[in-house]
């Protein structure tokens, strides 16, 4: 093992653009991992994935105000910059873009991305305006860090889909890689918000991954009726969570909710435990679609 260095921190748009331009002019491939900080092993797996595709990895750390609704947790979202930088150093991230809010949204800021139609259902219903903020800041970050490749986690399944469609629609010259969910040993999908959970809530939150595994078992056993699988997930969740926003089966590209599971689908859950909103998902492949 070599000694790890914390990444160089860049705070301004102009300097960040200049550095990436220089790197690419020198023939080096650049990867970018957009984050809101409070990094966990899921984020670090994205940096490790980016290193496979790129010579230099830039992690952006910015708690983006435009993707939070007024009643949401923008103010209390965890900020752990020093620990984040140390963790990034350990996984070989060389550059961190850590701007102040006013550098990203200066006074008079007023241009937004109207996100693609896959932003409308599910999170789009539960968190109106959320994907408008996400699409806007991600497009900005792709212009600030004009990288060859960007890595996102499958944990935010719909977000990754929104970004993939936005990038395709707007012809953004960047490759999007969606990387697997990283889970705690007991199955809970890693999330910066997990630290909000009390020990009792932490226990109850396992219902999300349990419901997904129940759906996976049913589909693997040949169940084709989406309604049966949805109901089974909802039954697992009913007593454990304090509010169930959705637990459904959808097409992984369009998010349309099929009646019959004939192709791979994605099972998606959003639920509140205590005051913490959690999401999770899993791709389910019916037996006939599996390779022998």
């Amino acid at each position: 093992m070599t000694a790890s260095n914390i990444p160089e921190v860049i705070a301004t748009v102009a300097e960040m653009q200049r550095r990436v331009r220089e790197l690419r002019a020198a023939g080096r491939r650049v990867g970018v991992v957009p984050t809101m900080g409070a990094l966990h092993d899921g984020h670090l797996s994205l940096v490790e994935a980016a290193r496979k595709y790129a010579d230099v990895v830039v992690t952006t750390i910015f708690v983006n105000p435009t993707q939070f609704a007024p009643h949401e947790d923008f103010g209390k979202y965890p900020r752990t910059l020093q620990a984040d930088l140390e963790a990034l150093g350990r996984v070989g991230c060389e550059l961190a873009f850590v701007p102040e809010p006013g550098e990203v949204y200066p006074p008079g800021y007023s241009t937004y991305v109207e996100p693609p139609s896959v932003a409308a259902p599910l999170e789009g219903v539960c968190r109106p305006g959320h994907f408008r903020g996400v699409a806007t800041v991600v497009l900005k970050l792709f212009n600030i860090v004009p990288a060859d490749v960007a890595c996102f986690g499958q944990k935010d399944f719909q977000q990754a889909l929104v970004i993939r469609r936005m990038v395709a629609d707007l012809n953004v010259p960047i490759r999007i890689e969606v990387c697997p969910i990283v889970r705690e040993p007991d199955g809970l999908a890693m999330s910066s918000r997990n630290r909000y959970l009390s020990p009792a809530e932490r226990e109850r939150s396992l219902a999300l991954s349990r419901a997904l595994r129940r759906a996976e078992e049913l589909v693997a056993a040949g169940e084709r009726r989406a309604s049966v699988v949805r109901e089974a997930m909802q039954n697992v969740l009913a007593d454990a969570v304090d509010r169930l926003d959705y637990a459904t089966i959808a097409d992984p590209e369009t998010l349309e909710e099929p009646e019959t599971i004939e192709r791979p689908v994605v099972a998606l859950i959003a639920a509140v435990v205590g005051t913490t909103r959690l999401i999770d998902n899993m791709i389910l492949t019916p037996p006939s679609n599996r390779q022998a």
Copy 2:
């Protein structure tokens, strides 16, 4: 004079991106001039301006459906590709991006730019959705032709402002140059739509530039009351045009309409002559702001 060659025509996004990437990797500066074709000397002056800043100029020719309302002239907008290419060759444009509509907006297309607040007044009122379409296609073109510099005409004053603000807000790494209006000898601002005018309408259309010159005279003579200048413009236009959409004085950066002219302002006119909608504008500088 050297013999002119018509520019090489590129029809696909992928090939256009590849060519610009190669040019820039070879250290060549690239300029882009987005147009809807039906080129006149105003467009050609943009190519000539782009050549000052760049080594290679790409002109895009695309009649963008998303910036036309259903009742507007998308279907009959003039298409003169062969003449356009010959004219571009004469002014040293090496590459033309001429995509089919389906290449720019494939089936399922659904991401748009919500333009900055300067898109709201004036044209934003008269042509709802117009700048959403403009901002979207221009952002796409900047990703398809990721140039160092882009040239736009001051004739579409508000459009240039919308694009400048969008580029700043979204951190698009491109320099925007706004180039002077090119006029016919009698004062009419050049426009692809001028060819719609009958000889009698052509004569009446001179009221736009005449109204702007009247405003310029008043301000040069010390008139500070914006209302007086607006009324003078409206008086010049009243009998000549068939519908006056606006004739006003505005701040050149915010488009707010001042009561008193204390700094340089822009006089802006939109009017219909026959069935043709024309726009024109002029920067007016009060005497106290002039350099000796």
